[in-house]
Symmetry: none
Subunit: 471 residues, 2 copies
Amino acid sequence: MQELAISLNTKSHKPLYEQIYQHIREEIQNGRIPAGEKLPSSRRMSANLQVSRSTVDLAYEQLLSEGYIESVPYKGYYVCSLEGLCHMEFKEPEKKERRQSREERYRYDFAVSGIDPDGFPYNIWRKISREVLSEEDPQLFQLGEPQGEPGFREALSDYLHYARGVNCTPEQIVVGAGNDYLLLLLHVLMNGSSRIAMENPTYCTAGHCLEAMGCDVISVGMDESGMLVEELEKSGADVAYVMPSHQFPTGIVMPLRRRMKLLSWAAKAEDRYIIEDDYDSEFRYKGKPIPALQGFDTAGRVIYLGTFSKSIAPSIRISYMVLPMGLLEIYRRKGILFSVTVSRVDQKIMEEFLRGGHFERHLNRMRAVYKAKHDLMLGRLRKMEKICRVSGEQAGVHLVVHFVNGMTEQEAVRRAAGSGIRVYGISRYRMEGQKRYEGEAVLLGYSTLRLDELERAADALEQAWSDNKKV
Amino acid sequence: MQELAISLNTKSHKPLYEQIYQHIREEIQNGRIPAGEKLPSSRRMSANLQVSRSTVDLAYEQLLSEGYIESVPYKGYYVCSLEGLCHMEFKEPEKKERRQSREERYRYDFAVSGIDPDGFPYNIWRKISREVLSEEDPQLFQLGEPQGEPGFREALSDYLHYARGVNCTPEQIVVGAGNDYLLLLLHVLMNGSSRIAMENPTYCTAGHCLEAMGCDVISVGMDESGMLVEELEKSGADVAYVMPSHQFPTGIVMPLRRRMKLLSWAAKAEDRYIIEDDYDSEFRYKGKPIPALQGFDTAGRVIYLGTFSKSIAPSIRISYMVLPMGLLEIYRRKGILFSVTVSRVDQKIMEEFLRGGHFERHLNRMRAVYKAKHDLMLGRLRKMEKICRVSGEQAGVHLVVHFVNGMTEQEAVRRAAGSGIRVYGISRYRMEGQKRYEGEAVLLGYSTLRLDELERAADALEQAWSDNKKV
DNA sequence: GGGTATTTGTCCGTATGTATG
DNA sequence: TCATACATACGGACAAATACC
């Protein structure tokens, strides 16, 4: 039979198995599932509904005991004919939807950061967390190594190697609480005197952090392949901060040729480095992922920066960097003074999450979730061809929208706001005083909104932008 | 392919199928099973490993879903090539020589850092941890406030107020992963140009961190009341780093008079600050605790630094600082750029730990534990009056031992080592090149040793030090 | 060369242990 | 103590490919 689409409510106080049981019973009573039909196996059903098999088992067992279905061992469950069964109509009392009134100005926020609200793998995380805390290993609560737990770094280097093509040993990895912190640490390692080139527009938070530390942040132009290496060369920068896998905010994926050019720029001098922020590399919707820049680096000039903020949750604060050999030596002199900033417990949890393959399964799940949202938004926006076109759609969890009907970025943002929708102009990601990026565009992040919200938000957005009268 | 020799551990808490899965995955990742190779059939494997077929099935299924292997129906499972990822030579990191050998030379380690091995409140922590993760609050996994969770800061400010006499609102608190990090952040706030005075001897790690950041660290002498304010004045320092509640390593508690003098030094200029590291304030064995320096500060010149490293566990990495108003403004401009470095989950757990009164109960328990150890060691050392006398015994979890029989610090350390006991000479806590502190002494930390171990260690120590023949 | 036994992945229902409230 | 939910592990049945007589 077809897949049953049962809407389960985890938060409801009604047990899951009962919700399943009731739904199937109704289907049978209504004749929507005819007698003789085979029900989906408990495995299939549990996979569909994202619940444990035994939950489905319980539901089936109840149906069985009440004679709605019969079990044929090694084959499956089959719907009985209802003859002779008296059944009363049972009306579910309507539950009032408890809507939380939001005082927020915005009904929908196309935030470019953040994760899917239902995306956190609670169950596994809870389980691993419990396991780790149950070991009662006295060592676990003494201070750990400054670089991070050896076991965690090993699991991480395995993952980075096969999933991202990063070429490193666990010894090169430094674990830290967030990219900001790692940049801070890096700044200490580099003796605080770097001139850092960033693309324009870029991930300003990092730029402002670097400026706050006292770095010279230099804005370098970009074309459709990413940072312009010629300009970089002229800029006199020592360090280039790039996001080859998915540049923020443009969504540009740096092609191989440009990567090589960048690497040869770095190889030209001893004190040149590339900081590769492997932003959003986990989510790609087209083609195969390009391995990290770091994997092609033979001169030891690439510092690879990665995080679990996007792939798991921003709030768990686990990032990591891979240092080239030269910097590693400096780290061992100076960096080692600074204690690790991630809880040893959290590191252990993350290690198990990686080793148990949960991370990959989680990524696969999230990829599917984001793909659905991505496709929905892309479809909707492509229908609005009179108004806009889309770029940066190959990867990540946001789209870049350019207007073809003469609407300015500012106006698009204002109109959306007028309809209670928050969108983000790309201009806000230019470093201050750097107006070299001329394109106007709006960013639509779809990670934090649920599918049905996206649908409604897209409706409202279309209306707001289609409206011809000026606001 | 050949039979895989997987050593299964039935007793381990790790599921069988996961052990199988992990083993095979690692073999594939390391290339020990080449791409295209056929895995043993589930039957053969299950016979070999003496487990059920479906257990093997589960393991294979997981490998399948993650793309490590592919299934050819009625033929077998075959290892996939890790397609799409460039394959570079992956050097197997040679296993490092067990460093433990050096640490195992010591039977007993009177380490001055670390906590009681049985001291971590596993049960409550597990319970709260579970509760926090069970709430399934989607907000909890989005990025939190840079300063730390408002609720946590509120609980913290309450605690600091009544337990330490710290005078602050939650808005002044900045949460961070460890004192080192907070110093780093502070350095950014202070524009990286500070001349910092530290006592001598002192907590060198902090000193070296500050130096690595580029601070001028100036050593200032001390007497039995702590830092000499006259010298501080002459030194030209902007910032004084002190530990009034229990100076490390001397154990000196700064009396009120000296505190006031210090405060008036700071009040003399706009850019002068005192960093009050409230080290070990939680554990006092005599008299009532002196409130924090910060509570007496009317000029807004004290930065209060606290941590749960000693009171709960070093590895959980939760520290905090209280900024005076002037710095708070700067923080709101520059510091706010840096995301918080403590996991939001951990903050929530800690908040509950505070609010539920568990922290105080825990402290009481630990105070009793440490008091017992303290009294034991103090008693034993006082019996050795021919050899040494003790100082710094009012608070903390270590004692300072001065020798009265002419034994040098170096010799005391060596003799102890000869008996397999690790003790720490106080000289190692002088900043390099600063030899102004003339006293020789040895530190005995008793937090990480259990009572019975302490007993035996004290025996051995007495013998080693009593022994009159030179070593 | 055609039939048969074996091997294989796949799918199934079931039983048990454990965490949690 | 009991209800709920989940994870783990078990072994039987099936159909297609394959090896063997």
